[in-house]
Amino acid sequence: MMEILNDLISPIVLGTLLGGLYVVVALGLSLVFGVLKVINVAHGTLVILGSYVAYAVASVWGIDPILWLLLGIPLFFFLGILIEKYLLARAVSKSADAALIIAFGIALIIQNAAQIIWSPQSRSLLTDYSFNSFQIGDIYIPLVYILSFFAALIVMLVVRQFLKKTYMGQAITAASQNKDTAELMGINSKQVYQIAFGIAMAMAAIAGVFYGLTFPFNPVSGNALLIIAFGVVILGGLGSMAGTFIGGIIFGLSQTLGGYFFGPTGQLLVPFLMVLVVLTIRPQGLFGR
């Protein structure tokens, strides 16, 4: 009995930490849906774009991926503003379906470009600390898992403070609840859409780096990541940051525990079964409204 418990500690710790990474991926998806009402099917691929850009920067200039984020975050933020302004905005004003098709197109273009530039082979972000790990008791925790978990916590705190405490953050919140009334408050909804998408892209840059440090990735890895982000958002409930956090942790936990009990095939089966169960019992998600 004690032995099983001891064995379980490792998947529980790893699952929780992994959940943090999923939270960062899901937050971007959730923010864009909350404000623009568009299911950004390109989000997973934008995260992987973040991995590739960090990979390119590391291989060309030898810059550490995490250090790169100092530049990568503002770069992706502005890239997001440009994508919203020039590709999505007109479609969004027509219908959510039109915007969804555009997002799908963006994903396809990035995936194929990545294939041309970096080949379909898997890549990883390798650093000096990639194979470092902490030993706690009998278990080893890879350093990158801990780093990505802390990054997730920082992202959440910063985004939460921004949304609660700044005029722009409150404008984003207001526009997500009622766009027309937000305009009556003097809020420029076009600008709010751009900034929300920019923030989602900045989060994609962060998620991309930590995903790349944790797992190998290839041009189509974003598709799987998108589905996982969906799962997390559904578990937690749309529009709730606390929900997204809990959803991410549950997803990560059920993935590692599923792997422990049912082998590699159970890894993703279990979390998606959880999603189904939650959808049946609480369609609005655990923290949804």
Binding site: Q170, T181, E183, L184, M185, N188, G239
Partner: protein, 241 residues
């Protein structure tokens, strides 16, 4: 010689269409500084369309709208708010999952209002003490009357010169409506001009200085509110006498 009060908002000969369907014809009206002006008329007369045109959500095909000395005929809504026209929309339209405080505070989003946010918030809490007590509550948990108070307070937070209030009394008890009208007079004494849009003709004419009667897209009557109330046509149409 008596000084003519300054015209604050001037709507001149506007025609408004939804696609090809005409909704408003030859509408002209003006609001002078310090007045409470009412636009009354039954459901479907075009009151909401007129408001949307003034606030910039839709633009007239012909005619002009001037606020102060600026032409706002084709301006975007958010810019119009910045000039000093705030709107309290029909049905309150609070942000349901934001607190009372957050709803009020977002009212001061426009650049001119931000430096005055604190003093305006103090004014709002003075007008509606209950809102200070409930400032941490989510807007959706308030009663209808309290929600209307938040909506009016939010409009004041924009630091407006002109406040447009759409169907304030809709769905509220007469007692609360009287209370709200009392507050409107308070607001007027603070130097804010008010444009009311109402189906509740009787009480509105009682409270307003001047009024325009809108019927199927035309202004059919206008004048001092108390005079209008005595007009046979108004009596027949709205009071069933």
């Amino acid at each position: 010689m008596e000084m003519t009060p300054e015209v604050m908002l001037q709507v001149k000969d506007i025609n408004v269409f939804y696609d090809k369907l005409g909704v408003l014809w030859d509408i002209s009206l003006d609001v002078k500084k310090g007045e409470i002006v009412a636009i009354v008329g039954s459901n479907g007369a075009g009151k909401s369309t007129l408001l949307k045109t003034i606030s910039g959500a839709i633009h007239p095909k012909e005619g002009s709208i001037v606020f102060g000395n600026q032409d706002i005929t084709k301006m975007d809504p958010y810019k119009i708010v910045g000039l000093g026209i705030s709107q309290v929309p029909e049905g309150r339209h609070l942000f349901p999952d934001m607190t009372v405080f957050e709803n009020l505070h977002i009212g001061s989003y426009n650049r001119d209002a931000r430096p005055h946010a604190e003093e305006n918030l103090a004014k709002v809490y003075k007008l509606f003490p209950i809102l200070e007590e409930r400032k941490k509550q989510l807007a959706k948990t308030l009663s209808g009357g309290q929600q209307q108070m938040v909506a009016i307070g939010r409009g004041l937070m924009a630091n407006p010169k002109l406040m447009i209030i759409d169907e304030m009394s809709l769905g509220l008890s007469p007692l609360i409506v009287s209370e709200l009208f009392y507050v409107l007079h308070e607001i007027k004494t603070q130097g804010i001009t008010i444009l009311l849009v109402e189906q509740n003709v009787c009480q509105t004419l009682d409270e307003a200085d001047r009024a325009y009667v809108l019927e199927t897209g035309h202004i059919v009557m206008s004048g001092n509110a108390d005079e209008l109330m005595d007009e046979e046509e108004v009596k027949n149409a709205y009071f069933g006498e």
